[in-house]
């Protein structure tokens, strides 16, 4: 593990420089794992029974967890967002804990987080316009017309603060772990284990929860009028 993101391979297409970095490779690995998991779950759906056992238990409890989370936080109106949040939870959590197996977590790269936060931004605007129509656009010029630029800056700051929160937390954990791994060999045997438990598992799970909770509450505030 290193503080800096290493460039593994570099090439050029039509004058655009494309860099294959460590985080990009670990994103592909995690994408592959999640796609395989989804395919296995899909092929197993036809064999599901009324009384769940084994693998079916795991899949059903995961889906129920996310559905309950969306229902309790945002209400029945926004249940269409549950699949998106299932994907968000799976991807962010697996990438946060991927530091344990030696991959460089994709969430330590700001561009990954900003892409996820931009999707949240899209859903905030889309759900606001879909559920409140003109009221939502009118809320941008509240209380008077002069507040329009301030409200627009407030909207634009949401994805930035969302992405920076996840990025800062994960990168600070990674830098601390890199410092521990640069110690002499005899100190590296037992010390990293509790640190991995804290920085990867505990902080990773907490940040996943906070990212999903914050984007869901932003969407709820946009979609359901406060007054």
């Amino acid at each position: 593990m290193d503080i800096f993101n290493k460039i593994l391979y570099e090439f050029e297409i039509f004058g655009i420089e494309i860099q294959i970095t460590q985080t990009l490779v670990s994103t592909w690995v995690l994408m592959g794992l999640l796609i395989v998991f989804a395919l296995i779950a899909k092929s197993a759906v036809s064999k599901f029974q009324t009384i769940p056992t084994g693998f079916q238990n795991a899949v059903e409890s995961l889906i129920e967890l996310v559905e309950n989370f969306v229902r309790n936080t945002a209400g029945e109106n926004l249940m269409e967002l549950a699949p998106w949040f299932l994907m968000l939870v799976l991807f962010i959590f697996t990438s946060n804990i991927s530091g344990i197996v030696g991959l460089r977590p994709p969430t330590t790269e700001w561009s990954t987080n900003f892409a996820l936060a931009l999707c949240s931004f899209y859903f905030i605007q889309k759900m606001g316009i879909k559920h409140r129509k003109k009221d939502y656009l009118k809320s941008l010029v509240q209380p008077i017309f002069l507040f329009l630029p301030i409200n627009i800056i407030g909207e634009l700051s949401k994805p930035i603060s969302l992405s920076f929160r996840l990025f800062g937390n994960m990168l600070s954990g990674l830098i601390l772990m890199a410092m521990v791994y640069s110690m002499p060999v005899y100190l590296r045997i037992l010390i990293p284990i509790p640190l991995h438990m804290y920085f990867d598992l505990a902080i990773g799970a907490l940040q996943t929860y906070i990212f999903c909770l914050l984007s869901l509450s932003f969407i709820r505030n946009a979609a359901i009028s406060a007054s």
């Binding site: 309790n72 936080t73 920076f164 929160r165 800062g168």
Partner: protein, 92 residues
């Protein structure tokens, strides 16, 4: 003292200042946690709602500390002033 070491020393002082806003962040987060615990102990039946609100408030309060941390990380590992200084040296 030449220019490069001056840049590094001043950057490190700036890193300490940027990280010291973590003190304020921790006090704010402690206040949020105290208020949440008090309201849960007064009314245990609203624990779920209070916990959710507490996490949102904690995350919003944490943003300040994270911004300071980012400034510190940029100054430490990707200092933007050193390339400017090198360019200046090449120019003269």
């Amino acid at each position: 003292m030449d220019g490069l070491s001056a840049i590094i020393i001043i950057s490190n002082i700036a890193v300490v200042l940027a990280l010291s806003n973590g003190i304020v962040t921790v006090f704010g987060q402690a206040k949020i946690a105290i208020a949440a615990i008090e309201s849960i102990s007064r009314q245990p039946e609203v624990a779920g709602t209070v916990t959710n609100t507490m996490f949102i408030s904690l995350a919003l309060a944490e943003t300040q500390g994270i911004y300071g941390l980012l400034v510190a990380i940029i100054l430490l590992f990707a200092n933007p002033f050193i390339p400017i200084y090198i360019q200046y040296l090449m120019g003269t």
